[in-house]
Amino acid sequence: MTSPDGIHARFALALAEFTLDVDLHLPGQGITALFGPSGSGKTTLLRCIAGLQRVQHGELHVNGASWQHAKQFLATHQRPLGYVFQESSLFAHLSVRGNLQYGLKRVNTAEQRISWQHVIDLLGIEALMERKPAQLSGGERQRVAIARALLTSPRLLLMDEPLAALDQARKQEILPYLERLHAELEIPMLFVSHAPDEVARLADHIVVLQKGRTIAAGPLAETLARIDLPIQLGDDVGVVIEGKIAERDQDWHLVRVNCDGHDFWVRDAGHPVDHAVRIRILARDVSLALSHRQDSSILNILPVQVVETSQETHPAQVLVKLQVGSLPLLSRITQRSVQALALVPGKTVYAQIKAVALIA
């Protein structure tokens, strides 16, 4: 069952309100989001993986290396991992440089795969070197903490809601750095989040936890588009689609994003043509019509096929899964509209997409 590549984690641990019970096979590369509401066991799972929480009879294999198996248990300091804590975790008695060197000098030179300068540049912290943590802003502290973890050349980077303690502006400051890590380093990352927008922006894979159990796991786009999941996303239910900037319309400040042969017009965010981007379409922003209406303000109208419908928590609402070519779409409409439009699987309708967010 355990492949040499990838991460296999199996833990069972009784907690105060529920039992954490997971058996996960995660890809050994890219960013995997551990997603779920507060108190679903995400952080505990991350701590088990780091060895900060000891679980009897747990199993953990990371890309061929065994970190916990039967009686064997590698202590945290013997695991080649990086960990970014939720709140500032810099050592107050050391300068930024001292903090960065703390982990670096404890790693054999032979195992150092990531260069000092690369990390410093990647996170833009050159100017902060001589400062003490108390003299840094929240966003700067988190960037230094990420750099400190990276300098140990980890085989797995664990991040426990690295953005949660930051305000919206600081989050926007850090997100681009995280995207660069993703693009430039080949370190698998596991990151805990309860914010759908962060997950949509960063993750390649997602594991959805609820009350200590995995209720879904898989590639992001595929998993988000499943309508049978009781994912507590509320208004944030939607799909994430990858595409490329195909054209920039300077007059109207719009870009045409091509996703697997289908075009979406989106607000221009300054990306050049051919740049790979993600777009996110929320189910509540997709309405359905039987004809292609030319007399509306909606820019993006696509012919789609109804795949299936699913009742939502509120009896008035229905989630409709749609397909356009290979792309999934979700639409949240009323039960009454389903009746009025006679929506059945296989029927072709027009999806009117009111808003498309360009997220990366």
Binding site: H77, Y83, V107, A149, T152
Partner: protein
């Protein structure tokens, strides 16, 4: 200047005793403080109470039991005799043992508080940066809790300098061996040598003030709040 040879000997002996005791207190007190800071068992209350006993017991009570324990008929006394060390009462090392027990709470409590304030998070962070527990103690806990260690050291030192009853019980009054400054002062007063008593008492007052001044200057927590 009215310090006699005997006065100086007493002061030097006091400093030697306090320095030796402080060193031992840090070595013994740190693991106890660590254990107390990191455990939540019911034994914690028992150990805390035992460590704190010298705060409320008359020093003579402590001295009395130590005398019995360390004396030739006490279990510890028999042990030290069989090891060829002789018995400890009325020796310098007897005083050291008494002082360590007597000043233990003054050292353990500040260190315990400081370690508790540091919390477990910095240790976890250090572990994720490849530092083993011992490494993390020296490079993270010690620097972050340093004011606690300094406070403990200063209080332990000052408290040892200030003891009297315990010294008299287990040390007696042997010049150059167990006659510390406080006992020397008592002798002066008994002998109605008030001038010499003034000098010695004055030195002890200034010494205590300076030590405490250093303590309060050093400790931002105590300084910051009223």
């Amino acid at each position: 200047m009215s310090f006699s040879q005997a006065d100086l000997a007493a002061i030097l002996l006091t400093l030697r005793l306090a320095a030796t005791a402080t060193l031992l207190l840090l070595l013994i007190g740190t693991p106890i403080a660590w254990w107390l800071a990191n455990h939540r068992t019911r034994w914690k209350a028992v150990v805390s109470a035992i460590v704190a006993m010298p705060l409320v017991l008359p020093p003579t009570v402590l001295g009395f039991y130590l005398l019995l324990l360390l004396g030739p008929h006490g279990p510890v006394g028999k042990l030290t005799e069989s090891l060829g060390l002789g018995t400890l009462p009325f020796t310098f090392w007897g005083l050291v043992v008494g002082s360590v027990i007597y000043s233990l709470p003054f050292v353990v409590q500040p260190i315990q508080n400081a370690i508790e304030n540091v919390g477990t998070r910095p240790l976890e962070v250090a572990a994720t940066l490849r530092a083993g527990p011992w490494d993390a103690f020296w490079t993270v806990v010690l620097p972050l809790a340093r004011t606690g260690f300094m406070t403990g050291a200063i209080l332990g030192f000052a408290h040892t300098v200030g003891e009297f009853g315990l010294v008299l019980m287990i040390g007696g009054n042997i010049p150059g061996v167990t006659r510390v400054a406080s006992v020397q002062l008592y002798d002066h007063v008994e002998a109605l040598e008030y001038t010499q008593a003034h000098w010695l008492a004055g030195v002890l007052v200034v010494f205590a003030f300076v030590l405490l001044l250093v303590l309060y200057t050093l400790n931002p927590v105590w300084r910051g709040k009223q």
